[in-house]
C-alpha cells in the first residue's frame, strides 16, 4: 500500500492551484503594514508603487515582454473580454471574430453574447478540431477574411491540455492585418513563452492557475497595438484599467511568475514524467480507458482519460473518499445537461464523454501520490462498471 504524506492528493491544478508559500510571504506586508494607495503622495505609499513596478517586471520577464506591455486585471475572463472588445472598437467596420470550438467559456460565451452586448451583429467563425483536439490549419487560413477584426485562440486547452500552434497562427493573422489574441491561462508557467518573438497582440493570463491567489490577472498588449480600455475611471495602469490596484495579489502574482520561471524545467521534466506514469498506468490497468487529446502536443501536467460506460460525477465522488481531487467533463458535474463541449467537439462518443476524468498535476505532486491514485482507480472504475447496464465486461 502506498502512502501519501499530505492528506489531500490534489490533481486539479487546471481548475486552480495552491498559493505558493513564498507567494504568501511576499504578499503579507501588503495586507498589513503597507496598505497605502500606490497613487498617494506620501513615502510609504511610494513603497507600494515600487512593489507594483517589481511585480510588473517579473510578469514581463516570464512572458518575454516589456513591463509597459503588462496591464493587471481582476482575472483571465476580464482580460479576454477587454482584448476582444478593444479589437472590435479598433475596427468598427469589421464584425467577424475567428475562434475555436474548444475555447474556455470566457471567450466562447462572450462571442455568443456580443450582439446583445454591443448592439451590433457579429459573425463568429468557430474552427473545428479533429479527434485529437487539433486544429486544421487550412480551415484557419480560409477563415482569415477581410472582415475579421481579431482571432482569439487559446494557447492550451484547459480540459485536454492540447497546445495550439500559436506562433504560426499569430503570424498568419498578422500577414492578413488581423489582430491576434490568445487565452494563455493554462499555458503560462507550464510552457516557455517569449512574446518578443511572436506576433501576438493580446495575451490573457490568470494568477490562480500558477500558484498566485485568485482575483488577479494580466492582459498583455503588444507595444503599438491600438487599445481601448474596458473599465474606465481613474488613471491606474496608465489609463488602461481603472480601479485601485489589488496590490497584495499583484505582488503575489509577480512572485509566482518568478517562481514559475525557476520551476519551468521541473514542470517539463519531473512533472511530465509523473503525468506520463499516471497516464500509462491508468490506461494499462483499466480496460476501455481512452486518452483524450493529442499524445505529444500537450501541456506537461494534463491528462484527460475517459473510462467508458461509467459516469464522471460518480467516479469523482468515489475518488473523494480517498481525498483524491480531479475533475470531469461529465454533464452531471456542471449542472448543464450536456457533457464537455470540448470532448463533444472532438467527437468523443457519449459512452466515453460522460466518464472523462481530468488529472492536472503541479510541481507540488509527488510520485507517492501518483502511485496512490494508480492503486485506487481500478477498483473504483470496476465497482461502478459492475453497476452499469452498458458494461458487458
Amino acid at each position: 500500500m502506498s502512502s501519501v504524506k499530505n492528506n489531500v492528493v490534489y490533481m486539479d491544478n487546471n481548475a486552480t492551484t495552491s498559493v505558493a508559500p513564498e507567494v504568501v510571504e511576499e504578499m503579507m506586508p501588503f495586507l498589513t503594514e503597507f496598505y497605502g494607495n500606490p497613487s498617494s503622495m506620501y513615502s510609504f505609499a511610494g513603497k507600494v508603487g515600487e512593489a507594483l513596478k517589481l511585480a510588473r517586471k517579473r510578469v514581463a520577464d516570464l512572458l518575454g515582454a516589456e513591463p509597459e506591455e503588462i496591464t493587471f486585471t481582476s482575472c483571465g475572463t476580464e482580460s479576454d473580454s477587454t482584448a476582444l472588445l478593444s479589437a472590435l472598437q479598433t475596427y468598427p467596420e469589421k464584425r467577424r471574430i475567428v475562434t475555436t470550438r474548444v475555447e474556455h467559456p470566457a471567450v466562447k460565451n462572450l462571442c455568443d453574447s456580443l450582439d446583445t452586448l454591443t448592439g451590433h451583429k457579429h459573425r463568429i467563425t468557430r474552427l473545428k478540431v479533429d479527434d485529437q483536439g487539433v486544429l486544421d490549419m487550412a480551415e484557419y487560413e480560409a477563415a482569415l477574411t477581410d472582415d475579421t477584426a481579431i482571432v482569439s485562440v487559446m494557447w492550451a486547452n484547459n480540459e485536454t491540455g492540447v497546445i495550439f500552434p500559436i506562433a504560426k497562427m499569430a503570424k498568419m493573422a498578422k500577414d492578413r492585418g488581423i489582430l491576434f489574441h490568445t487565452d494563455a491561462v493554462q499555458a503560462v508557467g507550464k510552457v516557455p513563452i517569449n512574446l518578443k518573438e511572436l506576433d501576438v497582440d493580446f495575451l490573457s493570463l490568470s494568477g490562480h492557475k500558477l500558484h498566485a491567489p485568485k482575483g488577479v490577472g494580466v492582459l498583455y498588449v503588444k507595444r503599438g497595438t491600438i487599445f481601448t480600455p474596458f473599465l474606465t475611471g481613474g488613471h491606474q495602469e496608465r489609463g488602461r484599467r481603472a480601479g485601485t490596484e489589488n496590490v497584495a495579489s499583484i505582488v503575489g502574482l509577480g512572485k509566482a511568475c518568478e517562481l514559475a520561471a525557476l520551476k519551468m524545467e521541473d514542470e517539463n521534466s519531473r512533472v511530465r514524467k509523473l503525468r506520463d506514469k499516471l497516464e500509462a498506468g491508468l490506461l494499462a490497468s483499466i480496460p476501455n480507458s481512452l486518452l483524450n487529446g493529442h499524445k505529444t502536443d500537450r501541456l506537461p501536467n494534463t491528462c484527460n482519460i475517459s473510462f467508458e460506460y461509467v459516469e464522471g460525477e460518480a467516479i469523482l465522488l468515489h475518488m473523494n473518499r480517498y481525498n483524491i481531487c480531479a475533475s470531469s467533463g461529465s454533464a452531471c458535474t456542471s449542472g448543464s445537461l450536456e457533457p464537455s463541449h470540448v470532448l463533444r467537439a472532438m467527437g468523443v462518443p457519449f459512452t466515453a464523454a460522460h466518464g472523462s476524468i481530468r488529472f492536472s498535476l503541479s510541481v507540488y505532486n509527488t510520485e507517492e501520490e501518483v502511485d496512490f491514485v494508480l492503486e485506487k482507480m481500478p477498483a473504483i472504475i470496476e465497482s461502478l462498471r459492475q453497476m452499469s447496464p452498458f458494461w458487458k465486461g
Partner: protein, 279 residues
C-alpha cells in the same frame, strides 16, 4: 459541488440490490436524455401481485445510483397497485431530498418502475413501441420523432444531445438524418400554411413594419414618454431612431434589440436585424 443529503451519499456509496433478479417477471429499461444516465430495473412478482424482489443496474451520477437503490428498497414487499402509486417525489423524499437539478434522476426511477410493471402486465408503453434506431442506447424512432417535435431539434447532433441516439458507435447517423428530414418537413409544411408569406418586397416589408410599430411598439414607448421612427429598410436591416425620453435612455440599445427587434421578428420576418440609425 452538489449538496447531497447523507442518505443520498450513503445509498450511492453502499447501493442496495445491484444486479438482476433471478426470476424476472418484468424489466424496466429507461435512459434519461437529461443527464447521460440509464437504469435497468428488474422485478419479481408473485401470484398475489406482490413485488418480492427488485434489483437495478444504473449508469449515472451519484443521485441516479442513489435513486435506483432507494427505488428497489421502496418497492420490495409492495403490491403492484401500491407500487404504481409511487411518484418521483416519493423517491426523492425517501432520500431526504435531491438537488433540484437532479430531480430527473428520481423521474428516471419512476419511469423504470412504470416500464417494469407494464412489461409484467404485457402492456406496451407508448415510448417503447416503434423501431429501434440507435442500438447502443436502444432509442426508438418514436422517441426520436417526439424529441425533434417537442424540442425543435434541427441537427443529428441535437438529436444525440437530447435522446443519446447516435452518441455511441455513430452507425445510425444516416437513419437519424432521414428521420430528421422527414419530421422537419412535416412540421414545416403544416406551419408554412399558417405563416406569413416568406418573400416580401421591400414595400410590403416597410408597410408591415410600420403597422407593427404602430400597433405593438409605440403604445409601450409612449407610456414612458418616448417614441420610435422608422428611418430606412435595407434588405433585412431595419434602421430606427428612438425619440423623446427613449432617445436619452441608457437602455435604448436593449429596447431596440430586446423589444423592437423581437417584435418585428415575431410578427414581420424572422431574419430582420434592427439597428439604431444613429450609432
Amino acid at each position: 459541488m452538489w449538496e447531497y443529503t447523507d442518505k443520498v451519499q450513503e445509498h450511492f456509496l453502499n447501493p442496495r440490490n445491484v444486479g438482476e433478479v433471478e426470476k424476472i417477471s418484468g424489466t424496466g429499461d429507461v435512459g434519461s436524455l437529461a443527464c447521460g444516465d440509464a437504469l435497468k430495473l428488474t422485478i419479481t412478482v408473485d401470484d398475489k401481485n406482490v413485488i418480492t424482489d427488485a434489483k437495478f443496474k444504473t449508469f449515472g451520477c451519484a443521485s441516479a445510483i442513489a435513486s435506483s437503490s432507494a427505488l428497489t428498497e421502496m418497492v420490495k414487499g409492495m403490491t403492484l397497485d401500491q407500487a404504481e402509486k409511487i411518484t418521483n417525489e416519493d423517491i426523492a423524499d425517501f432520500l431526504g431530498g435531491l438537488p433540484k437539478e437532479k430531480m430527473h434522476c428520481s423521474v428516471m426511477g419512476r419511469e423504470a418502475l412504470e416500464a417494469a410493471i407494464a412489461d409484467y402486465r404485457g402492456l406496451v408503453l407508448p415510448m417503447a413501441e416503434g423501431e429501434i434506431v440507435c442500438e447502443c442506447f436502444g432509442v426508438t424512432d418514436i422517441e426520436v420523432r417526439r424529441a425533434i417535435q417537442e424540442s425543435s431539434l434541427r441537427s443529428v447532433e441535437e438529436i444525440t444531445n437530447f435522446t443519446k441516439a447516435g452518441g455511441g458507435c455513430g452507425k445510425c447517423e444516416d437513419k437519424l438524418r432521414a428521420i430528421l428530414q422527414e419530421t422537419v418537413s412535416e412540421v414545416t409544411t403544416t406551419k408554412l400554411k399558417e405563416l406569413k408569406p416568406k418573400r416580401m418586397t421591400t414595400l410590403q416589408k416597410i408597410k408591415k413594419i410600420e403597422e407593427v410599430l404602430e400597433r405593438e411598439v409605440r403604445p409601450g414607448l409612449r407610456k414612458d414618454g418616448g417614441d420610435i421612427e422608422l428611418v430606412d429598410v435595407d434588405g433585412d436591416f431595419v434602421m430606427v431612431t428612438l425619440l423623446g425620453q427613449c432617445k436619452s435612455c441608457a437602455k435604448s440599445q436593449t429596447t431596440i434589440k430586446e423589444y423592437v427587434e423581437k417584435k418585428l421578428r415575431e410578427l414581420v420576418l424572422e431574419s430582420l436585424i434592427v439597428e439604431d440609425a444613429n450609432s
